[in-house]
């Protein structure tokens, strides 16, 4: 039976080297500015968490195999090799201390896209057998059960029934020819069932046709987090198959950061072809409905609200203004964090860090950066639109005894919809 080895790892690293990688490594001047953009370095002060240092294995492979200079150095035995020991050491740097938030990619003076190279490095790490257990387990479960948390349709079925009861609305399932296929994340199904109820209400309100799919209800992609194309592609193919089966023209990614980038940006490249449908984040859809006047709201939140931009949504996908349009629709006292949008700070849980039990402590340390940002603005509540971010914010704020509730933007919009039917109750508990 085949197994994951250093050789396979090195081959996988090599397969990831492309023009941008070569340009990036050629350009690095070791200025160290990336460290100042990384919450893991800023909050620990440990220089080993400097982003560019995390890329040393990939850099060595690029230099050794893709540069004339490296080949000459190899001839005289001066070129350092990547060893199993090295990769074992780098496992913590590439997984536990990096949420792939991409903030370093925004500040590097020579323009290096470090987050992209972390993503590429993880391909090699998986094949060399140096991925964290938590992520391996999630990947296995995702492929075997359809969900990284191992949850099954029957769990979702219970939630659907609950939503239908409380809202009095029908949750469409496997409805062929609907406009939108809605995907969810495990986190939403288990921790934030109010999300499903919120979109049910909003779509009903706006007259949007949509459906869930029993074949594929999860948009999360453990393959992206662990950094393996093969697993990731299998998971993307399920979405594509479900969308095609139901003949939808649009697919909505849930309020989950990596799920969105996985299906929106990486997906077509993982399967090697363009989709026959368009992919949207729920926030994009809601803002479009708002812009076209299909969402009518009433009442305003009056407390001081601030917002956490999920990295995958804002910095890595360009959805920045939409959530502000939406929050301003229903809140009159909204204030942005000082560094937001493409320069926002990561909550510390992304990029698979939250699925990696070993990284628990680092994850909380990195959160201190977010905490400091929140303390500057002193909001009464935080709004966000990513289940992982939301969980991390809630846990972190609790850990540091800050009494600031965290709410999902979609639910907040749903709460303010103009009541069209007198029969429906206000909201679920």
């Amino acid at each position: 039976m085949s197994e994951l080895t250093l050789e396979r790892g090195l081959a996988a690293f090599r397969a990831e080297v492309d023009g941008p990688v070569a340009a990036f490594f050629s350009s690095c001047v070791h200025c160290g500015i990336c460290a100042s953009a990384c919450p893991f370095y800023v909050e620990t002060g440990d220089p080993k968490y400097t982003p560019i240092l995390k890329l040393e294995p990939l850099r060595l492979i690029w230099e050794r195999d893709f540069t004339l200079w490296g080949k000459l150095k190899s001839l005289v035995g001066l070129q350092k090799k990547v060893t199993d020991e090295m990769l074992a050491e780098w496992e913590e740097l590439l997984y536990d201390s990096c949420s792939m938030c991409g903030r370093c990619s925004m500040v590097c003076p020579v323009g290096n896209d470090l987050a992209l190279m972390i993503r590429k490095s993880r391909e090699g790490m998986v094949q060399a057998g140096h991925a964290p257990e938590g992520l391996i387990a999630a990947s296995v479960r995702a492929v075997q059960t359809g969900s990284p948390m191992g949850l099954q349709w029957k769990t979702l079925q219970v939630q659907i029934e609950h939503v239908q009861t409380s809202s009095g609305l029908q949750v469409p399932v496997d409805r062929e020819g609907a406009e939108y296929l809605v995907l969810l994340s495990s986190m939403e199904i288990i921790n934030f069932p109010e999300y499903l109820e919120a979109i049910t209400k909003i779509f009903d309100h706006a007259g949007v046709t949509w459906t869930l799919s029993t074949d594929c209800y999860e948009a999360t992609n453990a393959g992206i987090q662990i950094g393996n194309k093969d697993i990731a592609a299998q998971l993307v193919e399920r979405v594509v198959a479900a969308a095609q089966k139901l003949k939808v023209s649009k697919v909505i990614s849930p309020e989950c950061g990596h799920a969105f980038t996985a299906i929106r940006w990486e997906g077509p490249n993982l399967i090697g072809r363009a989709y026959p449908f368009k992919v949207f984040h729920i926030i994009e859809v809601l803002d479009e409905l708002r812009a076209s006047g299909r969402i009518q709201t009433e009442g305003m939140e009056t407390d001081r609200l601030s917002m956490h931009d999920p990295c995958n949504l804002a910095r890595k996908s360009g959805v920045i203004q939409q959530q502000r349009n939406l929050v301003n629709l229903v809140a009159e006292n909204f204030v942005d964090l000082n560094e937001h949008g493409k320069f926002q700070w990561c909550c510390g849980a992304g990029g698979g860090v939250s699925s990696n039990e070993r990284a628990e402590e680092l994850k909380m340390t990195a959160f201190k950066r977010k905490k400091a940002q929140i303390e500057e603005v002193k909001p009464d509540r935080m709004v966000t639109m990513c289940a992982t971010c939301r969980t991390q914010l809630e846990e972190g704020l609790e850990e540091f005894n800050m009494e600031i509730p965290v709410v999902g933007l979609t639910e907040m919009i749903a709460e303010h919809l103009v009541d069209k039917s007198t029969s429906s109750p206000a909201s679920a508990a």
């Binding site: 070569a22 350009s27 001047v29 160290g32 100042s36 003076p109 077509p268 360009g318």
Partner: protein, 220 residues
């Protein structure tokens, strides 16, 4: 017979040809390596084009965002000072313009020499500051390699010998001028094989970065 004038003529003659050849070949190999690797076709539906955001990033990445400026002011300010100082001395000092003109036929007006001298002196101080920073800041100390110190030494030697030659503080002049030219030639020779390549590849790197993010709707 080998004295300072013979040394100068060697640096202006055969050594210059060698340096230019190694530089040109090395750099083109380097750039060809990058472009031949290329990028895989991207099937994801773009939000925006690549060229404009790519070119914008090439320019805007020269300026730090306010947060970075606040958190790494030394890097930003001193880095700027010495880069700008180096470029002014390189491109606006009359003897350098004459050199460029002899190679390319292109020329432009020069700055007065004493101004160049002042700028060079400031550049030298800034370079020393970067070295101290590299040896003391925990991140920079950790990520620095032998190459970083080698490149610093060569760059510093180029600026220092140039300044000493201009101020004529070393006698005989052909010796210090020859040392300056040799230092510049060493810089040219190592350029394609060290991080000095960033002079040329940073433009490419910034473009790739700006294009990748711009495609997704973010001006990086």
């Amino acid at each position: 017979m080998s004295g300072s004038m013979e040394f100068l003529l060697w640096t202006k003659g055969p050594m210059f040809d060698i340096a230019i050849a190694i530089f040109a070949i090395g750099l083109l190999v380097r750039i060809a390596e990058i472009f031949m690797l290329g990028r895989a076709k991207n099937f994801a539906e773009p939000r925006a084009g690549e060229w404009k955001p790519g070119l914008t990033t090439v320019v805007t990445r020269s300026f730090a965002d306010p947060g970075t400026f606040k958190r790494a002011p030394f890097n930003v300010v001193v880095g700027w000072i010495w880069h700008v100082g180096f470029l002014i001395a390189l491109l606006l000092f009359l003897p350098h313009i004459e050199l460029i003109k002899s190679l390319t036929g292109l020329s432009w007006p020069a700055l007065p020499n004493p101004l160049i001298s002042l700028v060079t002196a400031v550049t030298l101080i800034a370079l020393i500051a970067t070295l101290v920073h590299r040896m003391t800041h925990p991140v920079k100390r950790r990520i620095s390699t032998l190459e970083d110190y080698l490149v610093w030494t060569v760059v510093f030697a180029v600026v220092l010998t140039g300044w000493l030659a201009y101020t004529r503080m070393v006698n005989p002049y052909p010796l210090i001028l020859g040392m300056h030219i040799l230092a510049a030639e060493i810089m040219l020779i190592i350029l394609p094989f060290t991080k000095l390549t960033h002079i040329f590849t940073a433009v490419i790197a910034r473009w790739y970065n700006g294009a990748a993010y711009g495609r997704k709707g973010v001006q990086s």
